[in-house]
Amino acid sequence: MAYTIAEKILLAHCGQKTIKPGEFIQADVDVALANDITAPLAISEFKKTGFKRVFNKNKVVLVPDHFAPAKDLRSANQCRVLADFAREQGIKNYFEVGRMGIEHALLPEQGIVLPGDLVIGADSHTCTYGALGAYGTGVGSTDMARAYIDGKCWLKVPASIKFIYKGKLGKWVGGKDLILYTIGKIGVDGASYKVMEFCGPVIDKLGMDDRFTMSNMAIEAGARAGLIAPDAITRKFVAGFKRKPKFYHSDPDAVYEKTYEWDLTKLEPLVACPHLPSNVKPASSLKNIKVDQVVIGSCTNGRISDLRVAAKILKGKKAAPGVKLIVFPATQKIYLEAVKEGLAEIFVKAGGVFSTPTCGPCLGGHMGILAEGEVAIATTNRNFLGRMGSPKSFVYLSGPAVAAASAVTGKITHPDKIS
């Protein structure tokens, strides 16, 4: 039988001889990830069951990243639950503040997720790992509690949709623009319950960081996973990690529910306008949209190449008066790279904040809440009503180039206007 990458990974984890879309399977997971919002609920559910030990302490990962460093007493208590559980269970993949990073940047960086893995995460952006050719999918806290018991997860095998990207990408166009374009075309439920498989000559040339950005936002089209076939770029990224990766590729005659094919040679940097990630417009078409805050970072765009793009535009420039520029690298390793490369200095000299890794601003948690009437442009993943603070605030989503250019002018700006 012919299978897609997604089907091959699920098949390899469910102990069955065959698999087909629509079928319910009980799959063995390689990694069970949770954070300071979702783990406390999972841990309390797990404890209620009477089971004493997690199924495999090496497969459980706990990252306090959302409200950490703890933003208030109640967040501190939630983070504490993770630390205590990690100690009690002997979980080594627990990342304390100072070693912590935003989970979906941290796990690939640390070699905790590898190609071919089946990863469940009590966080919707677990689909990020698709960029490695791993099946990462978001689940809830009860799913996590169940995985703690027997290492399994119930899944309905999704059908796959293929996205072929052709052409040559223009200057300032990156992974964020590709995925915003895609979501703009198919809508926020355009891949609901499906797997998105990204391929084509554009993807073949796309660096790992941009691939992570694309897979990260598959959930914003409702997808269960966003997969990219592993290639030389993937192999280079995972070379040197202890555990062995498994490289799966879709069979030539694998069945897709739908195929989209786009030539993106003329694609311009894009912006998703309030209040849906599908409300996508070219940055150049947005005139006189004043911004109060610019946020560069997150599990979507907080990697080193994102920071390099932003720094290239901000070098020797200042954030416009009244604009709060907040840059937050996704992990400590990226933070240190940004310091060594002089990027941190560029951001600080531009009048920006250079923050410790945290999910804080993206979900209106802390480190940059929007007041009533305020407008932000952010390299994050969601612009839902009230997402970053007041229900009367406005979030625009873009890649790091548009965000950095907008910081300089104080309004949404095409990067060509700056450099």
């Binding site: 919002i37 309390s44 069951t49 809830g140 119930w154 609901s192 209106g364 229900p391």
Partner: protein, 163 residues
Amino acid sequence: MIIRGKVHKFGDDINTDDIIAAKYLVSTDAKELGRHCMETIDPKFSQAVSPGDIIVAGNNFGCGSSREHAPLAIKGSGISAVIAKNFAAIFFRNAINIGLPFLESPDVDKINSGDIIEIDLAAGLIRNITQGQDYKTEAFPEFLRDIVEEGGLINYIKKRAEK
């Protein structure tokens, strides 16, 4: 199981930030979360809900985050069930796993806010008492019905572990 209640109507793409804003995710208590349910889009929602009431919404209900606090907040607000044209995948599994009854129906446009409706989950039947109409919909697959009927995923797993 028959559920009866008054309808609170919502539109398409009701996301998990609408259902429960991130600032309230410092609690896992359903009652506390319930007091802030739908606050961003309807600040008076939790006061307007009488125990047993039903949410009826459009496409893609529960899109966005994986926070199980969303179905918990709905339960905690006193809502007994959710009907939507369709649900986002993670919300769907969270609702199953915590045993929040829900149904998918193409007929939600015919239902108005304030209508009294009755839901028969096993039969996949929605009865609009106010309008005197019945809407037939698909019942859940057996595997999912088992989880809901056993009171959620943890009970389901425990039962099988004991066998």
